[in-house]
């Protein structure tokens, strides 16, 4: 998600930050009135934010997009049991044929997939999904009148789509029948994309809820109310979405034959007991919206929620560092899963500022920063120090690599600072550090100030409301700023683009870093398909930014999630759209375990 690229991206970034800061979020809670455990397989989840609505093109925050993905589906999805993340066909029959120049993608659709029954269709019977539905859905994403929040995803990517969007921007009505060159339904089940330029990450966008398939009849039937009437092809149905604190989904009776995967990465082998079973595995999902962390935590402990990300300040009462969860929780049969998140926190220099073209100064400041204490203070010691920009878990991350200017080394820092021309900080002006206005952000800023004072660098912490900070970064009126980035898709390109010179503000490169060597490598790698050659380029770029210190790196966070003994197949994933269909509930075990809660 971009740090500074117009409002739509701001909102996205905000989502990511809140995701990152509050560790993990999705949890569940069951009906409070029933004391007895029901015999139905009911998944009790909870989310920590209001759901904006059920229209895929507006689902730009984690919470809404997860809800959308229970009802709607896309061409592709991530293999549930495979890491690193692997794309597999979902509504597509198979992975697409890609032309040699990497510009044309041809998809065959599964046949016999139907939309949920709804009064918008003739006889209220859901009709079959066709390639035209995808053409329509993606045009909706580009429709200038709808102001879709996910447009950035395909902006400039599909041939003719931008032109189509611009053409209708000032006209009273948008013509969906006009053909767009890069987006064609060749026949009923064949869909063809033509890209404007090579973009190997294109397929990832087809696994994001923004591009999921909606039916034209339904959109037209409900008009503005469409956002509250989700009708997709997915495993669950929701008759109407209301702004309440509880959303109840039921199993889609006409869901196509989709089965639990029978292959997995070694760490998920134990989940293969469900292999071959028809999805979804549960009959019902109850999603409870619980914004405050304490009620979530208490409800989880009572077994009314199936899994929960541990709230930061309850961490000490749940986890003993190095040992796992407390005996108390263990006795209740609760399990812990720890997963690195695909993200990075950092303090960026504004490279437009002459002061920071002094590489030694940047290195000195990086060497003065103590990531170990920072980790302990702000992440309960659970995060992984970030040696460079690419997080572990995706190609481009260098296992075991040690950044020479990372990890506190005051002596080195002082030496570098002297070499930079500012012995003991003499001659250096006061440097401002801008951060968002939350309590934790301020504390992180104060910590940074404290660290820098050890080598005589004076820092002034300035808090800003989120939009204000974005504006300041865009207008280049910052010196240093603290921020984080969470992956949109599992590809190092999504991180490296943050430092690519031509991407500078208002693009994603908020720090304005511009290094010719890096730019060349990036340009080469950006058009390559996943290959050892591309990975080598990624690693080389990753190493360059570690040594040149365009940012002071922070940490890659890890998310800690607790789940009850009766929840089967739970995996904590960065990209968990559609996850609910794979989860299973052991009703007998739940009855047994509930006695102990």
């Amino acid at each position: 998600m971009a740090t500074n690229d117009g409002l739509k991206r701001i909102v996205l970034m905000k989502k990511m930050i809140s995701v990152l800061l509050s560790i993990a979020l999705v949890l569940g809670l069951s009906s409070c009135t029933k004391k007895e455990v029901s015999n139905d397989k009911v998944l009790n989840l909870a989310v920590s934010a209001k759901i904006k609505g059920m229209d895929p093109i507006y689902a730009n925050d984690l919470y809404s997009s997860n809800e959308v993905a229970r009802v709607y589906e896309g061409l592709l999805e991530y293999h549930y049991l495979k890491r690193p993340y692997t794309l597999v066909p979902n509504l597509a029959e198979s992975m697409p044929k890609v032309s040699e120049d990497g510009l044309n993608y041809t998809f065959k659709l599964k046949q016999g997939v139907t939309f949920h029954d709804d009064k918008a269709f003739p006889d209220s019977k859901g009709r079959e999904l066709t390639a035209e539905d995808f053409v329509y859905s993606i045009k909706r994403l580009a429709d200038p009148k709808l102001q879709a929040l996910g447009w950035w995803l395909l902006d400039g990517k599909i041939k003719g789509l931008n032109e189509w969007r611009d053409k209708y921007a000032d006209q009273p009505k948008v013509d969906y029948t006009e053909e767009v060159e890069g987006l064609k339904a060749v026949d009923r089940y064949t869909l063809q994309f033509k890209l404007a330029k090579p973009f190997p990450q294109f397929l990832y966008s087809l696994a994001m809820p923004f591009t999921f398939a909606v039916a034209k009849e339904v959109v037209e039937q409900y008009g503005k109310e469409f956002i509250n009437h989700p009708v997709g092809t997915g495993p669950f149905t929701l008759s109407e979405f209301k702004q309440t604190n509880k959303i109840e989904y039921t199993k889609n009776p006409s869901f196509r034959k989709k089965v639990f995967p029978s292959e997995s990465s070694p760490e998920f082998k134990h989940m293969l007991t469900d292999a071959g079973k028809t999805l979804p595995l549960v009959d019902k999902i109850i999603v409870n919206i619980l914004v405050e962390s304490q009620p979530r935590w208490l409800n989880f402990q009572k077994g009314r929620i199936d899994y929960i990300g541990i709230p930061k300040d309850n961490f000490d009462s749940a986890v003993i560092p190095g040992k796992g969860i407390t005996d108390d929780l263990k006795a209740k049969g609760i399990n812990l899963t720890v997963t690195p998140s695909l993200d990075v926190t950092y303090t960026a220099f504004n490279h437009d500022n002459k002061l920071f073209s002094n590489e030694k100064l940047r290195q000195a400041m990086s060497a003065a920063f103590d990531p170990v204490s920072s980790n302990k203070l702000f992440y309960n010691g659970t995060a992984l120090p970030a040696q460079s920009v690419v997080p572990p878990g995706i190609a481009g991350h260098i296992e075991g690599y040690k950044n020479p200017f990372f990890g506190q080394n005051i002596e080195l820092a002082k030496k570098l600072l002297a070499e930079a021309g500012f012995p003991e900080g003499k001659g250096l002006p006061e440097i401002t550090y801008d951060c968002p206005s939350s309590t934790i952000s301020r504390q992180i800023g104060e910590f940074f100030k404290q660290q820098m004072s050890k080598i005589g660098v004076r820092i002034k912490v300035v808090q800003n409301p989120w939009p204000e900070l974005q504006k300041k970064i865009k207008n280049r009126t910052v010196m240093l700023y603290g921020i984080a980035w969470g992956a949109d898709y599992p590809d190092a390109e999504n991180f490296l683009q943050l430092l690519y010179g031509p991407n500078k503000s208002p693009g994603a490169n908020g720090s304005g870093y511009n290094n010719e060597e890096f730019n060349q490598l990036y340009k080469t790698a950006a058009v390559l398909q996943d290959s050892p050659q591309r990975t080598a380029l990624y690693e080389k770029m990753n190493r360059i930014v570690a040594e040149k210190v365009p940012w002071i790196f922070g940490v890659h966070r890890q998310s800690y999630v607790l789940f009850h003994s009766w929840v089967k197949n739970y995996i904590n994933a960065d990209f968990n759209a559609g996850q609910a269909q794979y989860l299973n509930i052991d009703v007998a075990a739940k009855k047994e375990a509930s006695k102990k809660l």
């Binding site: 304490q294 709230p311 930061k312 300040d313 309850n314 961490f315 000490d316 302990k376 203070l377 206005s437 939350s438 309590t439 934790i440 301020r442 504390q443 104060e446 910590f447 100030k449 404290q450 004072s453 002034k460 912490v461 300035v462 808090q463 409301p465």
Partner: protein, 299 residues
């Protein structure tokens, strides 16, 4: 609002014994009130702490790490330590400086605006009065928190912005009171006398009338002082207050996260410090009114 007819003034009233001045009388009244004396002492000691911390004679090393993160209160650190291992005691003391300076400057700014506008409106009446009354009525209909937030957005961050923001938003009640009092006084004989010997408006207003309504300003000052301290805490809690130095508001902001892990001392220290000064100023304000407001004489 005061009703002019019901008031008996003690000015120009012949007395048998040597008459005490209003101020002398007020001083004696206050000295008889033990609570008020204690409040004054507390106020003076807070002021002293604020002055001492300004020159780094006390709590100058508040930024130093003195122990581990979140050390509980002990004989060594009375109020424990914060997330970075800094002494909460030192932070609280340093926070006094922020609180007292904000109280003082805000009360001064709002006093100045309130007295000036109130006096002009009350004295001249007519169109001038209408304009000023319209202005403060409109102004006071804007929720003050919104106004505070808006002003800090415009002025940027920092102590000066907080002084101005709080000063600009808290003058209305004083302005109303002064306007009413000045209206009441401007037809008094002593004012006519001043006119007769050729006093101009400025002289009549500031030399003759103002000293007679000054008690309202003083009472208001002490009340405004504590309102400003509270408002600063709210602003800092919202992340709009002082930056880069400890204040009670930021301490409470920190505490909202710490409480879940059982760290209560930062909240306790900041609220205790605030509680004592706010309570003292309230008591003092009451005592001042008792002593200075002629209508309450002999109650």
């Amino acid at each position: 609002m005061e009703n002019a007819q019901a008031v008996t003034t003690n000015i120009n009233k012949p007395r048998e014994e040597k008459s005490k001045s209003l101020w002398r009388h007020a001083f004696e009244t206050i000295m008889k009130d033990k609570m008020a004396v204690v409040s004054i002492l507390i106020f003076l000691s807070y002021s002293a702490i604020a002055l001492l911390t300004t020159f780094d004679l006390v709590a100058g090393d508040w930024a130093k790490e003195v122990g581990g993160s979140y050390t509980a209160p002990s004989a060594e650190h009375w109020f424990g330590t914060d997330i970075f291992g800094r002494s909460v005691m030192a932070k609280t003391l340093k926070g006094t400086q922020v609180a007292m300076s904000i109280g003082l400057f805000t009360a001064l700014i709002s006093g100045f605006i309130g007295v000036l506008l109130g006096a002009i409106a009350g004295f001249y009446g007519g169109k001038v009065d209408e304009v000023i009354v319209w202005f403060y009525t409109t102004f006071s209909s804007i929720p003050s928190i919104m106004l505070l937030v808006a002003i800090t957005f415009i002025l940027g961050k920092g102590l000066l912005a907080v002084y101005l923001a709080l000063g600009f938003t808290s003058w209305v009640s004083l302005c109303r009171l002064i306007r009413g009092e000045v209206m009441r006084h401007k037809d008094r004989e002593y004012v006519h006398a001043a006119t007769a010997i050729g006093g101009n408006d400025f002289r009549k207003l500031f030399k003759h009338i103002l000293p007679n309504v000054l008690h309202i300003v003083i009472i208001n000052f002490s009340l405004q002082f504590q309102v400003a301290i509270k408002s600063e805490v709210i602003l800092s809690y919202l992340g709009l207050g002082v930056q880069g130095r400890p204040s009670w508001g930021t301490m409470i902001d920190d505490a909202k996260l710490e409480l879940a892990r059982g760290v209560w001392w930062q909240l306790a220290a900041a609220t205790l410090a605030m509680f004592v000064i706010v309570l003292s100023l309230n008591i003092l304000g009451d005592a001042l009114r008792d002593a200075l407001d002629p209508k309450l004489k002999g109650k």
